[in-house]
Symmetry: C2
Subunit: 492 residues, 2 copies
Amino acid sequence: MRLLTPEHLNPNILNVQYAVRGELAIKAESLRDKLKTGNKTLPFPKVISSNIGNPQQKGLDQKPITFTRQVAALTEWPALAELAPGVFPPDVVARAKELSDEIGSIGAYSHSQGVPFIRQNVARFIEGVFILCGILVVELTSFVERDGYPSDPDHIFLTAGASAGVSLLLSMLIQHSNSGVLIPIPQYPLYTAALAQFNGAPIPYYLDEQQGWSTSVEAVETALKDAVARNVEPKALVIINPGNPTGALLDEATQEQLVKLCEVHSLVLLADEVYQDNLHKRTTHPFTSFKKVVSKLQSEVPLVSFHSTSKGVTGECGRRGGYFECTNLSEDILGLIYKMVSVGLCPPLSGQIGVDSMVRPPRKGEPSYELWKAETDGIHAVLASRTKVMAERLNKLPGVTCVNSPGALYLYPQITLSAKAQAAARAQGKEPDTFYALRLLDRTGICVVPGSGFGQVEGTWHYRVTCLCPGVEDYVTALETFHAEFQAEFGS
Amino acid sequence: MRLLTPEHLNPNILNVQYAVRGELAIKAESLRDKLKTGNKTLPFPKVISSNIGNPQQKGLDQKPITFTRQVAALTEWPALAELAPGVFPPDVVARAKELSDEIGSIGAYSHSQGVPFIRQNVARFIEGVFILCGILVVELTSFVERDGYPSDPDHIFLTAGASAGVSLLLSMLIQHSNSGVLIPIPQYPLYTAALAQFNGAPIPYYLDEQQGWSTSVEAVETALKDAVARNVEPKALVIINPGNPTGALLDEATQEQLVKLCEVHSLVLLADEVYQDNLHKRTTHPFTSFKKVVSKLQSEVPLVSFHSTSKGVTGECGRRGGYFECTNLSEDILGLIYKMVSVGLCPPLSGQIGVDSMVRPPRKGEPSYELWKAETDGIHAVLASRTKVMAERLNKLPGVTCVNSPGALYLYPQITLSAKAQAAARAQGKEPDTFYALRLLDRTGICVVPGSGFGQVEGTWHYRVTCLCPGVEDYVTALETFHAEFQAEFGS
C-alpha cells in the first residue's frame, strides 16, 4: 500500500502557521522535560513559558478566583452542599443550585448555542443594567457595567473559548479563495492560521508603533485599495481591542470611523474583545465595546464580538469558555451559525458555567464579595505594575523600544538586530527575531514568541512577551543580561 | 451598505445538514418552551428528546457516575479535601491529588494534545495491561481490558468529544473537491456534515439491514467502483462500530477483511468506536477494536480510532471529553495534527479529567469500587433491557421491523409508509419519514430523527430512537398508540 504523506493532505493545512505554540514552544517543552529528568547541563533552573497568555500555568503565580471554582465544584457534585455544610458560602450554594436547576446535569449536552439561562446572564452583563429587587437600576460596579444598550440572548453563542468562535465565523465568511479579511499587523496568529486553513486571503493593515500601536482608518483604507488591486474581495474587518500582541486600546472616535468604514465597504466587523477587562490605565485608556459604538450610531454594520473566560482576571484558559454576540445579523445567518455549532453538539458545560461566573461575579454585600474583590483587585494591580516595570526596563536597553501597553497581557518590544546577528540567523535558516528568541530560550529558559509570528513592518524585529512572569525583578534581570550578552556577541 | 445574506457566505456551509439537532429537535425545543410557560393545549405533559444520545439530560434517568464527579469536584477546588475531610473516599482524594500534581491548575491551558499523564493513562487502557506493584499483570476487569498491544501516548490526542477529532481528521484528509470518504449508510450525520463543510465527496456503502445491519466488504468494494466511475478519489474508510444508528457490531473476520481492503486501496481507516462499552450481548456480540486487528495483522494501514466520555456508561456529554489514537501515521502527519490542534490551544480540562476517570475507573478493593460497580452495572442492565423491550414491541407493530441492536444507544426501525402517507408528506414538502416523525412529536412529545437524516435504501423509511427513555412501558405504549393512529389515518 501507498503510505500517507503530507502531500496527500489538504494543502491548506500545510500552510497553517501558529507561532504561539510553534517552534519555540515545542523547544521549551523539550527543555522542561530535560529539567524534569534531572538534567544539570542547562544554564537555568526552570523554563518560563512567556509565549502564551496562560495565567494559571505551573510556575506562574496567578491563582484561580475562589468564587469561580466553588461554583464549579458544586455544579460538578451538587450533593456537596449537604455533605459539606458550611464549607461553601451561602451565595455560592444558591448560585450553584440556581444553575443546576436550570441546566440539570452538567453531564448532559446543553442547547447547542449554550444554556439559555447563561446566555440571558451574558446579555445582562453586556447591557450593564440589572433588575434588583424588581427595580431597574444601573449597576455601579465598574466590572459589570458595559454598554447600556439592549442585548438579545438569542444572538449570543457560548463557545469553547473565543478561538472556536473566531474560526467558525471565518470559515463561514470565506466564500472563495479570493475572499479577504482585513487583519491588523501585528495580529494574533489565530487569524492567519484560520485564513490559511479555510483558504481565505489576509488583507494586512498596519498598526502605528510610533503612536502606541494605534489603529488608523487611513491604514485600513490603504489595505483595502491594495486588496482590490490584487483582486481580493474584502469580507470582514478584524479589530483586536485591547490589542494582541500590542496591548493598545482604541479610542471611541476611531471606533466610530471604523464602523462607518465597514458601512461604506459592506464589511462584517469581527471585534476580538477578549482582553476587555485587562486594563492597566482605566482612566486614560478605557475600553469601549464595538457593540456600544454600533448601537450608539444605530449602524447596520454586521458585528460579531468575542469574549472569553481565559483572559481578564478570570484566567480560566483550561475551562474553554467564551461567547460571541451577533449584532445586525439576519435570522437566516443566525440559523446557519446555529446549524454549524449544532454539528459540534455544544460547548463544554464547565466553560459555560465559567462564563456565568465571569458575567455574574458576587455583588457588594454578598458573602463572597470581599474575597472576590480582594482577589481580582490583586490580579489587576500585579498585572498593571508588572507591565509598567517591564516596559520601563526594556525601554532602557540599548536597541530596544517598547510601547508601554495600557491593556491585555503582553508587551511587544522592538529589537534592533545587527547585520552580524541577521547573517548568523540566515545562516541557520531562521528569521532574525526567531534566532534571538531561540537564544533567549537556550540561555535563560524564557520562552517568548518572535515577531515574525505576529507580523511586523519589513526590516523591523520584535517579540511578544507575556506580563505573567513570576518574580518580575529576576525575570527582567534575565532579559537584560541576555540582551547585553547578545549585543556583546553580535554588536548593536 | 449591502446587507449580509447567505449567498455571500461559504457555499459549503449552506450544504451542511445535521438532522440530530435539526428541524425535529428545534421544534421539540419550542414545544418544551410552550409547556414551560404553562401551555395546556398540547396533548402530552412533556417532551422526550429521543433524538440524541444524551443520557443525563433532564427528564431521563441516567445519573452520573459518582466517582467521576467526585474527582472532577476535587480538581475544581482542591482545598475541599481538607475543608471537607471524610466527604471524599480516600482513593478519590489520592486520584485528585495525583491529577492536580501532574496538571497544576485546571484553569491553565494544557499541552495541546492533552495532558501527557492522562495520555499515558489512555495508552495503558488501550493496551489493557497494567503495572501493579511493579509486576506486569494482565488486568482482569473486562471494562479496562482492551487490546493487549502497545499504545504510544504521543500518538494519542485528547479532544473535546469525539466529534472534534472526526471533523479535524476529515478536514485534513480532504485534499480537493473530488476527494472522497467511504461512509456507511445509514451513518451518523457528523460525517456527511463535515464532508459538506470541507467540500469532500461522500462515498456511501450500504449496510445490510436483513443481516442485522452487517457490514460487507463486497458493499464497500461496490462503492469504491462507483466512486472511481464518478472520478472521486477515495481517501478514507469510516467504520462506526458499534454502529450508529444501527447498534450493529462487527465480527473480527470482517474487520480483518476491511483492514486488508484499506491496504489494497491505500485508505486511511477512521474507526468511530465511541460505543465500545455499550454492549448489550457481550458474549455473542463482543467488541474488538480496529487497533487490535491492525496490530494483530501487523498491518501498515493508517488508523485513527475515536473514543468519547459522552457514551458508554459515563454518559458525560456536556464535559466534552474524548480522544483519538493514531496508528501507522508518520511523524510528519502527527506534527501536522499537533499544529492544527494547537491553533485551538487545548481540549477542555474537565473533559480531559473525565477521560482519565473513564480509562482509570476504581479497581476491585479500592474504596470507590463497590459503588462504581453498582452504578455501572445498573446502567448497562437498564440499557440492555430497554433496548430488548423496545425492539420486541416495535417488531410487533404492523409495518414495522426493527433489528434488535446488540450495542450502542439506539434502535433504527424501518417503517412502511402508505402511498397516502407519502403523498401527504410530499404535499407538505417533507420526506415521508420526516412527516411521520413530526406527527409523532406533535402527538406524543417524543422527538426522534427521521431516517433521511442518516441515509437509507431508496424507498425505505426509518427513524432513529434512543433507548434512553424514562419509564419504558409508557414510552413504548405511546409509540404504539401513535403508530396505530397513523395507520388508521393513512392506511398501512
